[in-house]
């Protein structure tokens, strides 16, 4: 079966340390004030002693039916040979149509290149060399896993068979490749 890269986020394990946020900026030289990923806090909700909060790592969801690819007038936003959404900064004119189309607010105009930018799964720099993405490698709580969901022996496939996962904003029919597991999280 063809490779299908995906990231699994076990929300309960995330301690909100933002190591992923920083590792991503470091790996990808993301300009100041801009982020390919962040892990914002949700909550706290409830009253003492039943107070809960959690962190949700947010980045490009690597949609398999990506609105950003559909609308891009120059085909700068495209699917690569693995079906991942990538941006060719050379073709991009910076029209920001994709920014308005992405329901996850995952994109920004890179202040250095002037082109649209977002998470790439660290594909060129790391995954193609057999490494895990920077955010996954560095994850302190062990919340992030990455791999081929079609390979039953991969970390991600194993976790996904054990636990029920969700997609963010599934109602838009974007078919994301980021799986959120909320087991043990009070929402």
């Amino acid at each position: 079966m063809a490779k299908q890269y995906g990231m699994v986020i076990q929300v309960a394990k995330c301690i909100g340390c933002q190591a992923c946020t920083v590792a991503c900026k470091f790996q990808n030289e993301v300009p100041e004030g801009q982020y390919r990923t962040k892990s914002p806090v949700f909550g706290p909700i409830g009253t003492y002693p039943n107070v809960a909060m959690y962190f949700e790592k947010e980045a490009c969801q690597m949609c398999q039916k990506a609105p950003c690819v559909n609308v891009c007038p120059t085909k700068a936003s495209h699917y690569d040979e693995n079906g991942l959404v990538m941006i060719d900064p050379d073709k991009c004119v910076g029209c920001k149509y994709c920014l308005t189309a992405c329901p996850y607010d995952a994109r920004f105009i890179n202040a250095k290149t002037g082109a649209a930018d977002k998470c790439t799964f660290c594909f060129e720099e790391r995954v193609s060399k057999g490494l895990k993405p920077a955010c996954v490698s560095t994850c302190v709580g062990g919340s992030l896993s990455f791999g081929d969901v079609n390979d039953p022996n991969s970390d991600v496939a194993k976790i996904l068979t054990k636990s029920k996962s969700e997609f963010r904003k599934a109602e838009f029919g974007t078919h994301p490749s980021i799986y959120y597991i909320f087991d043990g999280v009070v929402r």
Partner: protein, 299 residues
């Protein structure tokens, strides 16, 4: 979700005032062209001043609008890549070609209208006009083809936003019809109305405008019905906060109610009301574009 652990929130508005202004100007251009070309094609009196005004407004407005569009790109010097890399799935990519054809036709038409009435020229200009006189027969075909592309351009401004299917304000369908975006209909009506208003402003002193003034009243009423429909169909959150002020005062008050009251009154009593009435229609059209562009991204 804005502030968390010291990391500031990001800008959520991708398209701002420049895009709103561009959509507005494209509407004026389309509406101006339609006013001029349809008059040219179907009117027996063919009021010269009115045709000229509309024919000149179109290329000026669309070029100004396109200039803003290019400036809004983060890489304005690479705008030509829009012309060589085509994505047939992308409304913007298709629109680039529609607008290019419209711009060309608008310029040719404006030239033909100008040249045919330019009788007092001397020197090189006279020679140019004389040389091109053999093309004067093309005026009506150009008017007709241009009218079609004017309609396409004006509706395109709606399709551009409605193609964002993940935006529940922009992509709302017209009367629930699949494939007929509300904004395409709304921007067509508003574009024709503002384009007609701009033309009437320019031709304010000529006679025989009564039919056009009546038409504009009809468009204002149509727009009111459309906006009422929109208000009732979409999530009320889009009409909140500062957007409420813009909508009720700018779009509804200045753009529709006041001009309607004044033009019903002015139409039969004072023809001097042309400037304030049509000025307000134009301001209202601009407010409408701002409202739709911003509100769709704020909530």
């Amino acid at each position: 979700m804005d502030i968390f652990w010291g990391i500031p929130s990001e800008e959520h508005i991708a398209w701002g005032g420049m895009i709103a202004l561009y959509l507005f100007l494209a509407g004026i251009a389309g509406g101006g062209f339609l006013t001029a070309s349809l008059t040219d094609l179907f009117s027996k009196e063919r009021p010269t001043k009115l045709i000229k005004t509309g024919a000149y407004i179109a290329p000026v407005a669309i070029i100004f609008g396109l200039g803003l569009l290019v400036l809004d790109l983060s890489k304005p010097f690479f705008f030509w890549k829009l012309l060589i890399n085509i994505n047939t799935n992308s409304v913007m990519s298709i629109g680039t070609y529609i607008i290019s054809v419209f711009v060309s036709l608008a310029f040719v038409y404006a030239y033909l209208v100008w040249a045919e009435s330019a009788t007092t020229l001397t020197g090189i200009w006279a020679k140019l006009v004389q040389f091109s006189s053999r093309f004067f027969v093309l005026r009506k075909p150009v008017a007709l083809l241009g009218a079609i592309f004017a309609i396409c351009t004006t509706t395109y401004t709606g399709f551009l936003l409605s193609a964002i299917t993940t935006n529940t304000l922009w992509s709302v369908p017209f009367l629930g019809l699949v494939g007929v975006p509300f904004l395409a209909v709304l921007f067509l009506v508003s574009g024709v109305s503002t384009g007609l208003a701009a033309t009437l402003l320019g031709a304010a002193k000529s006679d025989g405008l009564k039919i056009y003034k009546k038409l504009d009243i009809a468009f204002i009423v149509m727009e009111m019905i459309l906006l009422a429909l929109l208000y009732l169909t979409v999530n009320p959150i889009y009409f909140n906060g500062s957007m409420a002020t813009l909508f009720w005062i700018g779009v509804v008050g200045i753009g529709l109610v006041l001009p309607l009251v004044l033009s019903v009154y002015g139409l039969y009593k004072h023809s001097k009301w042309v400037a304030p009435v049509y000025g307000m229609v134009i301001v209202g059209g601009l407010c409408l574009r701002y409202f739709i562009v911003y509100s769709g991204q704020l909530f």
